[in-house]
């Protein structure tokens, strides 16, 4: 598929393992940080919004409901942000390998994006525990979560194809990207509900893939309903298009990587 074979799948897994290990190499807790870091952020948000601000959603009874609502959207976002950053820097960060070994470099942004699965797992477990504590038992709808996760990572990988290739030539992107991600997190209804946006912005948000992803997680976990299929299909199709052209552009550009790195 897309010019990849079984041998590449094994290399992809190896690259993923290497990414996880290299990231925390030399720290005493090692790969445990991959779990501790997102957990710390989630605890912090729970504390600030649950105990200090005591924010309540319109129509919800307790602040705990708000925290569950927040984390069901923000947890996947942490994973997205991490995955996009890792994917964008993947080729540039592996310059030693790219310059000295002949292999399918297009696997690098994919392996980089998959880093996000770890923190996604952590926040999913965290939110499930909170939900049980809040008396909000998950329904059969959770079996739809993998579909959302696949669409989410397809979108991240599609972006990563472009970003990782561009970063090789224009390093400034690595400085711009964190700011851009901050803008996206506030433009997307993650900290606040979709209904609180002005109606013009609401219409614009329908074109924001990150909105559809956050909303799908919330439909499943909070609303106990099948997520907006149209929105997910929109993201999936968009991902396929961006990935298709991204992969083609990446493959054309990879021949020039060794002179730019």
């Amino acid at each position: 598929m897309f010019g990849f074979n079984r041998y590449d799948v094994r290399l992809l897994l190896n690259l993923f393992k290497m990414n996880v290990r290299d990231r925390y190499l030399g720290s005493s807790l090692g790969s445990l940080w991959a779990i501790v870091n997102p957990l710390f952020m989630l605890c912090l948000y729970t504390y600030v919004f649950g105990f200090i601000f005591k924010v309540r959603l319109p129509g919800a009874e307790t602040t705990l409901d708000y925290v569950v609502w927040l984390i069901s959207g923000y947890g996947p976002w942490i994973a997205t942000a991490e995955a996009v950053m890792a994917s964008a820097s993947s080729v540039f960060g592996a310059s030693g390998m790219v310059k000295n070994m002949a292999f399918k470099t297009e696997l690098l942004p994919i392996a980089g994006a998959l880093i996000g699965t770890i923190s996604l797992t952590v926040s999913s477990v965290f939110v499930l525990i909170l939900m049980l504590y809040a008396g909000n038992t998950p329904t059969w709808h959770v079996i739809l979560l993998p579909v959302v996760i696949v669409v989410q990572f397809a979108w991240i990988i599609a972006l990563g194809m472009w970003l990782s290739a561009i970063t090789v030539f224009v390093r400034d992107l690595m400085q711009v990207l964190p700011n851009l991600l901050t803008v996206i997190v506030f433009v997307t209804p993650i900290f606040y509900p979709f209904s609180s946006m002005p109606s013009v912005v609401q219409k614009l948000s329908l074109g924001n893939p990150f909105y559809h992803l956050a909303e799908s997680y919330r439909s499943i976990l909070i609303g106990h309903q099948v997520p907006n299929v149209g929105g997910l299909i929109f993201v999936a199709v968009l991902s396929a298009i961006v990935f298709y052209f991204g992969l083609a552009a990446f493959r054309r550009a990879k021949g020039y990587f060794d002179s730019a790195l």
Partner: protein
């Protein structure tokens, strides 16, 4: 279909002076149709080459001749700007040793990481693990983090990791000298062994011995083009000769203010000075110390006077006079009336340095004699094995014997 590498009219142009975004756009657009017309540094210029089964190809050339660029393109690390490369077979390339070494991990763990980079499964690595450790001669250090290793130990580990490949098409770029003398010998022997197993080998090296030992075909690259293709012996010899000539030309160019012939009287001129090193008949400007040197001088002097003489001086470039001798011109007159003289230094005593050889045609030996013509040239004396502890100015021929005192 047998294994082969087929290179058709391949060129590689590195853009120069473009902006980062310009490079990006160019790269995303891919190889353009006009290709070579692009501005920039042409590293490889329209090379066609076919390498068949059983060929072990050496590539020689000076720095910047395009050897590594060509190798990178064959290895698939970069794409040609124009032309195409067809390869049948699995390519294994060894470009730089120790790229994948993780400083924080132990030597043993690094062997697994290297396997991961190569796309091997854990079982495949386990199969060769003990052999790799044994080959690296690291002993108990294999359990310590690589950051505690010396440079030589890292190189040994890195080499050991590549020493268990079973290549179809093997590409090696200057990775041959590793560690201390004994390990280096072992490594070279291993490379020879791997190359013997490799069905096609492509090797870039500055070590002419390695090329002659390993290869059975050799090409000489110059300015991105193949200027010679043939047996390793013939090509490496041609390459070395050309490099020496270029070095000599550079030497003459650098000190050209010291070189030249002048005449002060109509009919008197020193027509040429040649230096002949050893038994060779060709003129040269680099002479090994303690070897045989002959200086041939050809001069023209009309209305010969019996007192006229040729004066030979050797001056070091800092104006230190080292040799001074006069030869009566009348003694060396040729049949055609010109003066021809060969002076032999049977064992050149000068130490390594650059010297100027002055030849003067003088009226007589007196202090204020009239100078008819003069000519100067530059030569360099070198030593193959410079003695340690200082650079002697002279290698005076001496003999010692046992004497009771």
């Amino acid at each position: 279909m047998t294994l082969h590498v087929q290179i058709n009219r391949v060129s590689k142009v590195f853009p120069v002076g473009n902006t980062a975004t310009g490079d990006l756009v160019a790269a995303m657009k891919g190889a353009s149709e006009e290709g070579v017309d692009q501005k920039g540094k042409v590293a490889v210029n329209n090379i066609s080459l076919s390498i068949g089964l059983g060929e072990r190809l050496g590539i020689v050339g000076r720095n910047g001749a395009g050897k590594s660029t060509l190798l990178h393109m064959i290895a698939g690390l970069s794409d040609p700007t124009a032309g195409s490369i067809h390869i049948k077979g699995k390519v294994t390339s060894i470009m730089t040793l120790g790229v994948g070494l993780r400083d924080e991990l132990s030597g043993r763990e690094n062997i697994y990481v290297d396997g991961e980079i190569q796309g091997k499964s854990r079982a495949e690595v386990d199969a060769v693990l003990e052999q790799v450790i044994e080959f690296s001669e690291l002993g108990e250090f294999i359990e310590y983090p690589v950051r505690t290793y010396s440079t030589g130990m890292k190189a040994r580990l890195a080499f050991a990791m590549i020493s268990h490949i079973d290549p179809e098409i093997l590409i090696i770029d200057e990775a041959l000298s590793v560690g201390d003398a004994s390990f280096s010998t072992k490594a070279t022997a291993r490379i020879l062994e791997i190359c013997a197993r490799g069905k096609i080998v492509i090797l870039v090296s500055h070590g002419m011995k390695a090329v002659r030992d390993i290869c059975n075909r050799c090409i000489y690259l110059k300015d991105g083009q193949i200027v010679m293709d043939g047996s390793p012996e013939a090509v490496t010899k041609a390459y070395i000769d050309e490099v020496r000539e270029a070095d000599e030309a550079a030497l003459m160019q650098k000190f050209r203010s010291h070189v030249g012939s002048r005449s002060f009287r109509q009919g008197s001129e020193i027509e040429g000075i040649s230096l002949l090193s050893g038994d060779s008949e060709g003129s040269c400007v680099r002479v090994e110390t303690e070897s045989r040197l002959r200086v041939q001088i050809l001069a023209r002097h009309e209305s010969m006077d019996s007192r006229a003489l040729l004066r030979l001086r050797i001056v070091r470039l800092d104006d230190l006079l080292l040799f001074h001798n006069d030869f009566p011109a009348l003694d060396y007159v040729l049949d055609d009336g010109r003066i021809g003289i060969e002076i032999e230094f049977s064992r050149l005593a000068l130490g390594a340095a650059i010297y100027r050889l002055d030849v003067h045609l003088l009226e007589n030996a007196q202090e204020r004699a009239k100078r008819y013509a003069e000519c100067s040239t530059i030569f360099e004396v070198f030593t193959m094995d410079p003695p340690s502890g200082g650079k002697p100015m002279l290698f005076y021929p001496v003999a010692g014997c046992v004497t009771p005192i």
